[in-house]
Symmetry: C2
Subunit: 244 residues, 2 copies
């Protein structure tokens, strides 16, 4: 959470004229838009609804952000900014897409996470960029940890990295389903580690299953590619990654 020691909404402090100052009503509008876009989608959210939620008129929204797409772009930028600050604050390096990258996304705040979830599903430049970064991080992680199984630049590493990012991002996008089944939305801030624990459980279990003869048979039935891979090494002793 960014430091925001403002008990009052600060009616009209005449902000500096130059750069985007991001305080006062402008920030209120942006936050309201974030929530509205997250809840109703880019198309479902309305300018009037956002203005009402922010306690301002529709004209002011236009005055500050021009058009609806401009407002959307501002939300994108704000969320990406928040995420980057969170990542650098947590000291995460390239391996964003371990269980850690997801945690950083969640730690950026429920509103931002919800917005990102919608943006990923709807497809926005910001969400695509973030997803690409997660995927790049995952590919680096895979290639660095298992160079024989996922050679750098190989199609197998690329596919696995994309799938990994999609799977972890999918838990974000489908947070409503998780909330329905787990009893608590993983995006509401309480117990941020619960989803991570479940994901690790899944990977451990499914990893063992995939390594079993039954799993190998399933993999074979899918038309295994050129490299079936050694199934004997179970503990490759990966190099220490960053905060997970």
């Amino acid at each position: 959470m960014p430091t925001d020691p403002n008990p009052r909404p600060e009616p009209n402090p005449r902000p500096r004229p130059g750069p985007p100052d991001d305080r006062t009503a402008r920030a209120r509008i942006r936050d309201a838009a974030l929530a509205a876009f997250a809840e109703h989608g880019t198309r479902g959210a309305t300018m009037r609804g956002i203005a009402e939620a922010a306690g301002v008129s529709v004209g002011l929204v236009q005055h500050h952000f021009g058009t609806k797409d401009g407002l959307r772009a501002a939300c994108d930028e704000a969320v990406v900014d928040l995420f980057r600050r969170q990542v650098s604050a947590a000291g995460l390096g390239a391996e964003l897409s371990g269980p850690g990258g997801l945690g950083a996304l969640l730690a950026a705040g429920p509103a931002a996470a919800r917005y990102l979830a919608r943006a990923m599903a709807d497809g926005s430049a910001a969400a695509d960029g973030l997803l690409d970064e997660l995927t790049d991080g995952a590919e680096d992680f895979l290639s660095a940890t298992w160079p024989d199984r996922f050679p750098a630049g190989s199609a197998r590493a690329r596919d696995a990295a994309a799938a990994l990012a999609a799977m972890h991002g999918g838990t974000l996008v489908l947070h409503a389903h998780l909330a329905r089944r787990m009893g608590a939305d993983p995006l509401d801030g309480t117990d941020p580690g619960r989803l991570g624990r479940a994901i690790i459980d899944v990977h451990r279990a499914l990893g063992e299953f995939a390594a079993s003869p039954t799993g190998a048979a399933i993999a074979d039935s899918l038309g295994t590619g050129p490299d079936p891979g050694p199934d004997t090494d179970t503990a490759p002793a990966p190099k220490e990654p960053g905060r997970g």
Copy 2:
């Protein structure tokens, strides 16, 4: 010309008056709606666009499906039906949420899969129901395979099953991202096993990683020890009798 066989595929053969007959223009409209909903979302798709894509007028769409929500419901039902038929045809039992369940979804056809992906993200009764079935299957699978780690009805099994379904469903929802990174959309029908292979690769790699000391440390940092055991559990997930 009273006695005239069918020179055209659907000459309006006066179908049976009673039940939903699903032929002629009605099916065309439904298919066009499926594609439109999948591409533009429930809100973005328009009645006029669907009618034009189906080659009919807007009035006919209303005549057959009443309202837009009725059309949406019909699409839901059709997709769910298709999926069930595919599952039973493949002889899949409870383990819907292994790599098999996802494959059945994909095998139901690109249009249905795309529609389902959108429906999962937007949230519809059909998508929720299907996701619940996948989750139930995953929970059964986890509890049956690792009874000590995922006791039946435990919170840990429930969380892991929900996460597993969300992760696999997420690859469906984020298929555009996968297409961007893998170079081919996993929902376009060609090489249906490629995504499954990537998922298995991910589970194997991440499973090994989670079992490593580094992974265990990460799991510990998330709040719970390696074996929390069954904590507060609630009523087991509702199961549908009959259809397995």
